[in-house]
């Protein structure tokens, strides 16, 4: 049987979640190479959308790929180039962020960003039934971040929860530490923090601890970093919950693509990996000690 090639194009590991996603991609490739001797995998990581387009072009021109698994850096710029791959008759799997036009991909393994924000907002409302004052940290300015924030804001509307301030922590621990320190200087009373990402939550927690402020009741992160899930499992009052956004969705996508290429199993369609609320009760289900994230 002839070897078939699967190209995988993902953003580089520039922050925690992306690092986890890179890890899962590598791990899936290593595993599936053993399972499917007739498959070859080509993995490329890109630091910006233009570089990602280059990678995809190179896969098409020089690596004779039969399928492409892509987690678009950004939806808009990748739409045309991925469409070109599909037009060339290749199998296309899109992961996480969708393309700007529908119907290009054969398989869509989707993360749910508005849902991510909504679940976080709903938890906030339930944890503070009488309302309260919170601050929020945002990620790198992107569509994903916008969708999450909108979802969050809609969910808390009319609940009496007031967002005192929102700044970009860029999914980065150091930036979030700085931003949170300044929020603490600025606002004498903060009831809770929506850090929107576990890397940012770590920076935020460190800032709160250093300031010795006990008005902040909890910090809600997101994406399910193992250290944070563990703290939730251990009933840490500062980390009472989490919202998943599993970086392992890339592995799911690669695996489904491999199945699709090598068998007749029907794998096309949409596969939404919803964001789930993690609480001490179900935390064990979301704890993966071997993942780097």
């Amino acid at each position: 049987q002839e070897t078939q090639v699967i190209g995988i194009s993902i953003p580089a590991a520039t922050h925690g979640w992306a690092g986890g996603m890179n890890y899962h991609a590598q791990e899936a490739v290593d595993r599936l190479e053993g399972v499917y001797p007739q498959l070859d995998f080509v993995l490329a990581t890109a630091s910006d959308p233009a570089k990602q387009v280059n990678d995809i072009e190179d896969m098409l021109a020089t690596r004779d790929i039969d399928a492409l698994v892509v987690l678009p850096f950004e939806s808009e710029p990748l739409t045309g180039p991925v469409a070109a791959v599909a037009d060339a008759g290749k199998w296309v799997t899109v992961v996480d962020r969708g393309l700007a036009q529908e119907g290009i991909e054969d398989l869509y393994v989707a993360g749910d960003n508005p849902g991510f924000g909504r679940v976080a907002g709903e938890y906030m409302v339930s944890a503070m039934p009488d309302g309260g004052q919170i601050v929020a940290l945002r990620g790198i300015p992107t569509t994903i971040d916008n969708e999450r924030v909108e979802g969050f804001q809609q969910a808390i509307e009319g609940s009496g929860i007031e967002i005192l301030g929102m700044e970009h922590g860029n999914w980065n621990r150091d930036d979030s530490f700085t931003v949170m320190q300044d929020f603490l200087s600025k606002y004498p009373q903060i009831d809770a923090v929506w850090a929107s990402d576990d890397d940012m939550a770590i920076g935020v927690l460190a800032a709160i601890e250093a300031a010795g402020r006990d008005d902040v009741q909890f910090v809600l992160g997101g994406a399910g970093m193992k250290e944070m899930i563990q703290r939730t499992a251990e009933n840490d009052p500062m980390v009472p919950a989490n919202v998943t956004y599993p970086p392992s969705m890339i592995a799911t996508a690669i695996e489904l693509t491999a199945v699709g290429l090598t068998s007749n199993a029907p794998v096309s369609g949409e596969f939404v990996i919803g964001s789930v609320l993690v609480t001490p009760e179900n935390a064990a289900d979301y704890y993966f000690p071997d993942s780097p994230f």
Partner: protein, 335 residues
């Protein structure tokens, strides 16, 4: 030794001296091509060559302009975010006028004009601050780098500005089509490079830029309008950023805060790998072109091979950049 026999020795010494400096980047490029061809049979395919050359065009066009700025003793860190900002502006203008003008070449033309005018204006601002206001180019362009990056983020409201889909198919050919099988970006890059080389070597402007970079006092005393030439190097660079953006927008149809990230470092690296002196006084446009090709090929070759952890791509790139410059450094002893 008489004046006459000294001359022979001098000329000889110089020729020998030139050899390495000239051959260095070319050798590095050839070595990379060889490695690529050995690693993958498709490396020298028409398709791959077209891809590599077309996508080199953005940085390439900008690097040609950067060659002049650096030759005249300047530096421009803002080009990447300037490109992002101009791309954003171009998209906004085209989207805004689409309902009235409809999709078609007139609107493309308006978009292009927007890009060129914005480029010239942005270059002018940099140049003005550097010359008339006498602020270190590094600081001016570090400042404007932040400003443009921030403005495009703001224009895009944190997300992505995308060209209306109706317009995309109209504008797409600018990147993907061409004549005689050669795509437009390659043609434009080649024209810009040739024009740059001619201006550098055969026009007074190139000489004046080099003279200013070598010793601006001397240039001033020789009736060269130092401020004007320096300002113009920034304006030309801005114009070329506009040209590069005109090629870029049709390719991706969008702009965001991650557009053009780190282009400035890549463009500057290409210029230096090509043999232009960072402190000014000597510039070589054809060298810059080779530098750009070297940088693009490194990426391309890394995509041709397996076995290296993608985490290490940056390390390999770094090593090759340093090696490429070692190849062309002055062999003369420190003396």
């Amino acid at each position: 030794m008489t004046a006459t026999d000294a001359k022979g020795a001098g000329a000889q010494g110089r020729a020998r001296h030139l050899d390495l400096k000239v051959l260095g980047p070319i050798l590095a490029l050839l070595a990379l091509i060889l490695v690529g061809a050995l690693l993958n049979a498709n490396f020298l395919s028409m398709g791959n060559i077209t891809n590599v050359l077309s996508r080199s065009a953005f940085i390439g066009i900008i690097a040609v302009g950067m060659t002049f700025v650096i030759t005249a003793g300047g530096l421009d860190l803002s080009v990447g975010s300037m490109a992002a900002f101009i791309a954003g502006l171009m998209i906004l203008v085209m989207n805004g006028l689409l309902p009235t003008m409809g999709p078609g070449w007139p609107l493309v033309f308006v978009g292009m004009t927007t890009a060129l005018v914005a480029g010239v204006a942005a270059g002018f601002i940099n140049g003005f601050l550097v010359t008339t206001m006498r602020i270190e180019a590094f600081i001016v362009t570090l400042g404007t780098m932040g400003i443009y990056r921030s403005l495009v983020t703001w224009l895009a409201d944190g997300g992505t500005l995308s060209l209306d889909f109706g317009m995309r198919s109209v504008i797409r050919p600018i990147y993907y089509d061409g004549i005689l099988g050669i795509s437009w970006p390659i043609i434009v890059f080649a024209l810009v490079a040739i024009a740059g080389e001619v201006v550098m070597r055969r026009a007074a402007f190139g000489r004046h830029a080099a003279a200013i970079g070598s010793n601006d006092q001397v240039a001033r005393y020789s009736s060269v309008n130092v401020n004007r030439v320096r300002l113009l190097t920034f304006v030309f660079l801005g114009l070329l950023v506009g040209v590069a953006t005109i090629m870029y927008v049709p390719r991706l149809g969008s702009a965001s805060s991650s557009t053009g990230l780190l282009w400035e470092l890549e463009a500057i690296a290409a210029v230096i790998i090509g043999g232009t002196m960072l402190k000014g006084g000597f510039g070589r446009v054809w060298g810059t072109v080779i530098g750009v090709l070297i940088l693009s090929l490194i990426d391309n070759i890394l995509n041709l091979t397996d076995g290296v952890s993608p985490y290490l791509n940056g390390a390999i790139q770094g090593v090759i950049i340093i090696l490429a410059v070692i190849l062309q450094r002055d062999r003369k002893a420190g003396a």
